[in-house]
């Protein structure tokens, strides 16, 4: 019972607070109602005149009734209270109409009460209807108290009166329901909207809290390319304020290339030519700025096939990248340690060469851009041969940049190379310290041979040569080392286990004198494997058996010391060389011109460079190294059968005299 009463009161009583909309609405309706009642004055005078019930009295009484709502409208602050006065007024006006409209239609005048009772729903306030109904009830009670017979007119029995009252109650209940529904669903709409807005605000706050505290840059980009307001706080922290900005412009502040790539691919995505997943695969997925690495992931938010928004997730991958880099560096260190264990001399030589190259690059010792490119290319090649991928990667970036800008690499890349080199040195310090001592290693057979010669009382000249010989390097060692490198390159290029044949001829060379040449000779080896030898499938298609073979040899022919590399690959496409030479404005009329063109700086038969070759730098470098030792290069090549490069040096260059050695 108590609950039912409470529910009833909840229906009848409106919430205390009033929205601005309700306030304005009621002010307007109250004003209209006042005008409506004011019009009753002439209308009732007309009715009174027509029924001979006294127009003057109608004027007086209707005006008196009108005073109430006018006074309330002018003085009440709460428009709901004005409406309640209108509810009371409506019933008074009904009474006057019945009075002044007496005559045959007087009964019909009673419809006014029911019509007005229904019209009061416009105030959207159950209390207004209740006031009107209560006015009628109190009026009847007062009549009954004053003249009981008047309520039971026509000599009506009690049930007739109750039926009469029931209709009023029925209409009042229905009108109360309508008024309350009107209030809740129309007048109170603003309140509902406010409540829902508050709920949404709350949800937004919670979402904001999440967005402000996640370490991923979550954001959505509309089809206009604008970043939505709701985004993770770190987005602005990383890219600057992105509010209302094109996402590509936000990216441009930190990484122009990524911005361009995004802008281009976003346009493609909007055009809808490609499926979403295919189009999204083309978007930039990484970027790097201020020493930090970021990953970019994309998820389309679509309705059917129509793109609505693009969800972008920026992830700071700096720690991951650093960890990966450290792992790579550790693996590199382990690989180098393993190499040094197997071939300490070769490793130390690589390291010494690399140190010189790094120094030349980072200290700007290269005289021109061509030399810079050769130096970087050589460092890259050697690093790859020794699996120092981190250095090779930096060199690759440098080469890309130089190709694009035609200028020396930027300071950032140079700094990166320096740092990596220093870290590499630190991690290999144990090996470097132990290998740094000048040691002459002599095998047991050689030692025995030397001892026997010493006992044979050699001359001092012979003894000097014997001692000098201990410092010489057998070319077989060098060729073996180069052969191993060639095999590794072939594996990486997917050319299988190539064969390498060594024919050293028992020759020896002074290692320091020939270090530069061997260093650049690597380019020829890489070219032979990359350009010369075919893949296993191509070889099979040409009827060739097995993987390709390289033959590395050193020999002395009369006064010439010859270093030869021969492959049984596809041979040089001289027509292509000719075309490329012509394209680069290089002489290309004769075979000799074409051979020269092969070694021309910047000429490559490849349209695109690979990590191993294709930049037209390597052969130019080896020619330069060859010429420094007074050598010449010969090229023999036949399509489908293979290519042979011969480097011919004066035999006198092979080994210095003891005096020359000491002087050096």
């Amino acid at each position: 019972m108590k609950n039912a009463l409470a529910s009833l009161m909840n229906v009848l009583r409106l919430p205390a607070e009033m929205t601005q909309f309700e306030d304005k609405y009621l002010a307007r309706v109250n004003r209209i109602a006042t005008y409506f009642y004011a019009l009753h004055v002439p209308a009732f005078m007309l009715v009174a005149w027509a029924n001979d019930t006294g127009p003057l009295m109608a004027l007086v009484l209707t005006t008196v009734v009108l005073l109430g709502p006018v006074a309330a409208y002018k003085t009440f602050e709460n428009p709901r209270n004005v409406s309640i006065v209108h509810g009371f007024t409506s019933m008074l006006m009904g009474g006057l109409l019945v009075h002044f409209g007496q005559g045959p239609v007087q009964i019909e005048m009673h419809f006014y009460f029911f019509a007005l009772l229904a019209m009061l729903a416009i105030f959207a306030n159950p209390m207004v209807i209740l006031t009107a109904a209560a006015t009628v009830a109190v009026h009847h009670l007062a009549l009954w108290y004053y003249l009981p017979a008047s309520v039971f007119n026509y000599d009506a029995p009690i049930w007739v009166v109750l039926v009469h009252a029931a209709f009023v109650v029925l209409e009042s209940v229905a009108t109360v329901y309508i008024a309350r529904s009107f209030f809740d669903n129309v007048i109170g709409l603003e309140r509902i909207v406010q409540a829902r807005t508050a709920q949404l605000d709350d949800k937004n706050r919670q979402m904001r809290l999440v967005l402000d505290n996640v370490d991923q840059g979550l954001l959505t980009v509309g089809c206009d390319g604008i970043v939505a307001d709701e985004r993770a706080a770190v987005v602005d922290e990383w890219l600057g304020d992105c509010g209302g900005q094109q996402f590509s412009e936000c990216l441009r502040r930190v990484d122009e290339k990524t911005a361009d790539a995004f802008e281009s691919q976003f346009d493609q995505l909007l055009m809808g030519i490609l499926p979403f997943d295919v189009a999204l695969d083309q978007f930039p997925t990484e970027m790097e700025f201020s020493g930090r690495h970021f990953g970019l992931d994309y998820t389309p938010i679509a309705h059917g096939d129509e793109l609505r928004q693009l969800l972008v997730v920026l992830t700071d991958r700096t720690a991951v990248v650093q960890r990966e880099r450290m792992e790579v560096e550790q693996r590199e260190t382990m690989t180098l340690l393993e190499r040094s264990r197997r071939d300490q001399v070769g490793f130390l030589e690589f390291f010494e060469e690399a140190k010189v190259l790094v120094h030349a690059i980072t200290e700007g010792l290269c005289e021109d851009l061509a030399l810079f490119k050769r130096t970087v290319h050589t460092l890259k090649g050697n690093s790859m041969l020794y699996d120092v991928q981190s250095i090779a990667r930096i060199c690759e970036h440098m080469e890309d940049e130089m190709a694009e800008t035609q200028a020396a690499p930027n300071a950032e890349l140079l700094g990166e190379l320096t740092q990596r080199w220093e870290r590499l040195k630190d991690s290999l310090r144990i090996v470097l310290d132990s290998g740094g001592r000048e040691v002459v290693q002599v095998g047991p057979d050689k030692y025995r041979q030397l001892l026997e010669k010493a006992l044979a009382q050699p001359t001092s000249r012979e003894l000097a040569h014997m001692l000098l010989e201990l410092k010489l390097e057998e070319t077989s060692d060098r060729l073996e080392r180069v052969g191993d490198q060639a095999k590794r390159i072939a594996q990486r290029l997917g050319k299988g286990d190539i064969g390498v044949e060594i024919e050293a001829g028992g020759l020896r060379l002074e290692p320091m004198r020939w270090a530069a040449f061997w260093q650049d000779f690597v380019h020829v080896v890489r070219n032979a494997v990359d350009h010369g030898l075919e893949s296993r499938e191509d070889r099979e298609a040409q009827g060739k058996e097995g993987a390709g073979t390289l033959t590395l040899s050193t020999a002395v022919d009369r006064d010439c010391f010859i270093v030869r590399i021969q492959d049984n690959g596809r041979g040089i496409d001289w027509d292509r060389v000719r075309a490329k030479a012509a394209q680069n404005g290089i002489p290309h009329e004769t075979r000799a011109d074409l051979e020269q063109a092969l070694f021309h700086d910047g000429l490559s038969t490849r349209d695109e460079a690979s990590v191993y070759s294709g930049r037209g730098v390597g052969l130019a470098a080896v020619r330069s190294a060859c010429e420094e030792r007074g050598g010449q290069i010969k090229v023999h090549s036949k399509i489908g059968e293979g290519t042979t490069f011969e480097f011919c040096f004066p035999a006198s260059e092979m080994v210095p005299t003891p005096h020359e050695f000491l002087a050096a």
Binding site: L96, Q102, G103, Q106
Partner: protein
């Protein structure tokens, strides 16, 4: 903003307005809704008084006496009905006009009605009647056969005097219709219109 009219003045004024309106409405409605008193058919004094209104030539005939009040709108409508309707043969009709109204008198006389003019106090003292319009029908034996109103509904269009007379002539005994109209006696007027809005 400073309030021009103090709050208590506003509320007091509106409370007075509500109370006054209630009283006015109640009294106005009371005068409309109240079923007016009709005389008792067994009232011998009334029969005697009515007998004095019947001329000798109408003895032995059916006589209808229309008690109409010159100040009453309902009586006006009954007047109009009497003058505009075809009156039955063999029925002697008398208008007992309460209050003077030369126009009505002239119209009634020209339409063949006997007209008697009495004052409201005389109506009460002589006939014991306090309200109008009232239809009284005397039979050929001068006995009061009907005393009541003209319509079934309040101020209805359907004035039933002819039906009532016809019914009586057939020997029926129709029930008296309720009387809606005006109080004529001072006491009744005071009761129905204490504020004097309706009655002078």
């Amino acid at each position: 903003m400073t309030r021009v009219i103090p709050r208590w003045v506003t509320f007091t004024g509106l409370a007075a307005w509500v109370g006054l309106s209630f009283v006015v409405q109640t009294t106005l409605m009371a005068s409309h809704w109240y079923t007016l008193p009709t005389p008792d058919r067994a009232d011998a004094a009334l029969e005697d008084a009515l007998g004095e209104l019947v001329p000798p030539h109408a003895d032995g005939s059916w006589v209808a006496v229309h008690v109409l009040y010159s100040q009453c709108r309902c009586s006006q409508r009954v007047f109009d009905h009497l003058f505009e309707s075809q009156r039955p043969d063999g029925l002697h009709e008398t208008v007992l006009l309460v209050g003077e109204d030369a126009s009505i008198e002239a119209r009634a006389a020209s339409a063949g009605f006997d007209v008697w003019v009495v004052s409201p106090p005389e109506l009460e003292s002589r006939f014991g009647i306090v309200s109008a319009p009232l239809l009284l029908v005397l039979g050929p034996d001068a006995g009061l056969r009907y005393a009541g109103g003209y319509t079934e509904r309040k101020q209805g269009y359907d004035v039933q005097d002819l039906k009532i007379v016809e019914s009586l002539r057939r020997g029926d005994d129709p029930a008296g219709l309720p009387l809606y109209g005006c109080g004529v006696s001072k006491e009744l007027q005071q009761l129905l219109d204490p504020m004097g809005l309706k009655y002078d």
